[in-house]
C-alpha cells in the first residue's frame, strides 16, 4: 500500500481562481470513480459505475481508479470487490470525518486532492452517492464540463489519439428530452464530470474480456481535517427514502391510485425494484437516476434518466398522455383498476428483479461477495 501526505487545499481568496488544468495535464486517459460506501461496503451503483468504466477502458486505453474517502483503511475484501468490479487501482483519501456522508464543505477538498493526484479524463459518480453533493463543485473547481445523468459511449473514430484507442463520449438528455448533449473530452480539452445511472453490474469475465482483478493496489492520501469548514452536524438519521436514489427500477405511483394499490405494489416488489408514492417521495425521485422509470396512474415524471434509460407510463381509463410527456412505452390499462391489474403488474415487475447471483437487495446495495 502506497501512502502519501496530501494536505487539504484551502479555498482560494474571494474572487481568485485556481488555474484550470490544461489539456496536457488532463489528457491522461484516467477514469475516476468516487465510491459510495455505506457501512463500509460499496453500493451496487458504485460497482456498476466501475463496471461501466471497465467496459470502455480497454477501447479507450484508460486506467480506472476507484476513489474512496474514509476515516480508516478499507477492508481488504472491499478492495477486492472494487478490483473485481473493474478498478485497476484504489485511491483512499483517509482522514478524520471522511467516513461521514460526503458533503462539499467536508469532503470536497479531499476529492480534489485525489483528482489532482490523478488528472482525469472522466470522473464518473455512481447513482445515489456523493454525486449531487460533490460533482458540481468538483466540476467548478477543475473547470470541467458537467454531465448530470449521462451514459458512456465509445467510438472508433479518427482523432488526436493513438491508433487503436477509441474516443470516449458521454451523452445526456436536454431537460425537455428533445435532444441529447454529447460531450467529447478530447474536443473540449477539459475533463468531464458525470453522474451515471444505476444499473446491473455486468458479468465481465476476465481482464481481456473487460473484467477486473481482485489483486489491486491501494494508494493512501492522508488528509487532515479542514481547519474551518463553517459546517457542523447537529443530528443525523437514516434516510427512509435512501433506496429511491439507488434504485435501478423505480415505479412512481400517483396518490390518486390509492394507498391499497401502493401498499400491494410495494410489498410485492422484487429485489432491485423500488415502488414509491409520487408526492411523498418527490425529492428522492428528483435525485434518482434509474435505468427504468415507470409512472403508474400519471405521466408527470421528472427528467431523471439517461439516454439509455427507458420510461414507461401506465394510464387508466380515458386518461390521455399529455403532449411532451416522457414515455417510451405506454399501457392504457382499464379504468378503475381492479386486483387483476395489480396482479398482472406485480407479475410483470418480477421479471425486472436483479439476478440472485448479484446479491443486490431491494436498495440496490450489493451484499459482500
Amino acid at each position: 500500500m502506497d501512502r502519501a501526505e496530501c494536505g487539504w487545499h484551502d479555498r482560494p481568496p474571494s474572487g481568485a481562481r485556481r488555474p484550470a488544468p490544461t489539456f496536457e495535464a488532463t489528457s491522461l486517459p484516467n477514469l475516476l470513480v468516487p465510491i459510495d460506501l455505506r457501512d463500509g461496503e460499496p453500493t451496487g451503483p458504485s460497482l456498476f459505475a466501475l463496471s461501466e468504466a471497465r467496459r470502455i477502458a480497454h477501447q479507450a486505453g484508460a486506467t480506472i481508479y476507484a476513489i474512496a474517502m474514509n476515516d480508516r483503511e478499507l477492508d481488504p475484501r472491499v478492495v477486492s470487490d472494487l478490483g473485481r468490479a473493474g478498478a485497476d487501482k484504489v485511491i483512499l483519501c483517509e482522514g478524520a470525518g471522511l467516513g461521514a456522508p460526503p458533503m462539499e464543505p467536508t469532503h470536497g477538498a479531499a476529492l480534489l486532492a485525489a483528482v489532482e493526484r490523478v488528472p482525469p479524463l472522466l470522473v464518473l459518480f455512481p447513482a445515489g452517492g456523493a454525486g449531487p453533493q460533490l460533482a458540481p463543485s468538483l466540476a467548478a473547481r477543475i473547470g470541467a464540463a458537467f454531465a448530470a445523468r449521462a451514459d458512456l459511449v465509445v467510438a472508433e473514430t479518427d482523432g488526436p489519439l493513438a491508433d487503436g484507442v477509441g474516443r470516449v463520449f458521454l451523452r445526456r438528455w436536454r431537460a425537455d428530452r428533445s435532444s441529447y448533449r454529447r460531450f467529447d473530452p478530447v474536443e473540449i480539452e477539459r475533463p468531464v464530470v458525470a453522474l451515471l445511472a444505476s444499473g446491473h453490474r455486468r458479468d465481465q469475465g476476465g481482464r481481456g474480456g473487460q473484467g477486473g482483478s481482485e489483486d489491486i493496489d491501494v494508494e493512501v492520501i492522508a488528509c487532515a481535517p479542514p481547519v474551518q469548514s463553517g459546517f457542523q452536524e447537529i443530528a443525523s438519521e437514516p434516510d427512509e427514502l435512501a433506496e429511491v436514489a439507488l434504485a435501478r427500477v423505480l415505479v412512481v405511483v400517483d396518490p390518486a391510485v390509492g394507498a391499497q394499490a401502493l401498499a400491494r405494489l410495494t410489498a410485492e416488489a422484487p429485489p432491485g425494484v423500488v415502488v414509491v408514492d409520487r408526492k411523498a417521495a418527490a425529492t428522492a425521485i428528483a435525485a434518482s437516476v434509474p435505468e427504468i422509470l415507470i409512472g403508474v396512474g400519471h405521466a408527470d415524471l421528472p427528467m431523471v434518466g439517461t439516454p439509455r434509460g427507458r420510461v414507461g407510463v401506465i394510464l387508466f381509463g380515458d386518461a390521455v398522455l399529455p403532449p411532451g410527456a416522457l414515455a417510451d412505452v405506454l399501457w392504457r390499462a382499464p379504468g378503475n383498476p381492479a386486483d387483476v391489474v395489480w396482479e398482472d403488474l406485480t407479475r410483470a415487475l418480477a421479471s425486472l428483479a436483479v439476478p440472485a447471483a448479484q446479491g443486490i437487495d431491494g436498495a440496490g446495495r450489493e451484499s459482500p461477495a
Partner: protein
C-alpha cells in the same frame, strides 16, 4: 441580513409557469426567513434578457423587497461556469449574506450553477437543502438528504444553499398586486466584472433524439418493451 434568491427563467411551458419547482421552494424559504418581526431583506436575482423577467415579477408579487435582472449577455447559451461567475459578481455587489438557489437551476436541470457561484465567491456551498431556519448570529440550520442519511447541519454564513423541493408544498404567497416595485437592471458593463471566455462547447454538442412512444396492451408487454431498450 441580506438574502438573495437566484432564479432562472424556466423553459416555456404550456401552463405558463414563471417559476421552476425548485426555484419556487427557494423563494418560499427566503420569504419565510424574512417573515414578520425580522429585518431581513430578500432580493430576487435573475441573469437573463428583458423578456425573461416573469420569475422576477412573480417574486415581487410574492413579497420580495427588490428584484434585480442581471443583463448584458445571452446567458441561455453560456456554460455553468460563466453563469456562476456573473451571478457571483452580482451577489457580491448586492452584499448578500445568504444565497438561496433552486437545486436544478438551469435549463438543463444540471444544478451546477450554484456550485460555480459559490466557487467564485469563495464561500461554502451546501446542496440538497430541504429545510432552512435561522440559528443565531451568523448561522443557519439546514436539513439535507444524501448518501443514505437525513442530516441537520449548522452552517456558517455567508453560504450558498441549493434548495430542492421537499415533501412539503411550497409556501410562497399567491400573486398580489400591491407591490409597486419594478425590476432593477444590473449591468455587467463593469471593469470589475471580467469574465472568463465563454465555453459553449462545455454545454456539449447537440444531437437529435427522436424516440416515439410505443403503445402496448398488457403489463407484461410494457415490462418487456422497457427491458428491450
Amino acid at each position: 441580513m441580506n438574502l438573495v434568491v437566484c432564479l432562472h427563467a424556466p423553459p416555456a411551458s404550456a401552463d405558463g409557469q414563471t417559476l421552476g419547482r425548485d426555484d419556487t421552494h427557494a423563494l418560499g424559504h427566503a420569504l419565510a426567513l424574512a417573515g414578520a418581526g425580522t429585518s431581513h431583506r430578500v432580493t430576487a436575482l435573475l441573469a437573463g434578457t428583458a423578456v425573461e423577467t416573469g420569475a422576477l415579477h412573480r417574486a415581487l408579487a410574492a413579497g420580495v423587497h427588490r428584484a434585480v435582472r442581471l443583463g448584458g449577455d445571452d446567458f441561455g447559451a453560456a456554460d455553468f461556469h460563466t453563469v456562476g461567475q456573473v451571478l457571483a459578481v452580482a451577489i457580491r455587489r448586492l452584499d448578500a449574506d445568504l444565497i438561496l438557489t433552486g437545486g436544478r437551476s438551469d435549463d438543463d436541470g444540471l444544478g451546477a450553477v450554484p456550485a460555480a457561484a459559490a466557487r467564485y465567491l469563495g464561500i461554502a456551498y451546501v446542496p440538497s437543502v430541504e429545510e432552512i431556519a435561522m440559528a443565531g448570529d451568523g448561522l443557519v440550520e439546514v436539513v439535507v438528504r444524501g448518501a443514505g442519511r437525513k442530516r441537520r447541519l449548522r452552517v456558517k454564513i455567508p453560504a450558498v444553499l441549493s434548495v430542492v423541493a421537499g415533501p412539503r408544498d411550497s409556501v410562497i404567497p399567491p400573486d398580489r398586486t400591491g407591490n409597486p416595485a419594478e425590476v432593477d437592471l444590473l449591468s455587467l458593463a463593469d471593469p470589475e466584472a471580467t469574465l472568463v471566455r465563454r465555453r459553449t462547447e462545455l454545454l456539449g454538442r447537440e444531437e437529435p433524439a427522436s424516440r416515439g412512444t410505443e403503445e402496448v396492451t398488457s403489463a407484461a408487454a410494457l415490462v418487456a418493451a422497457l427491458s428491450r431498450g
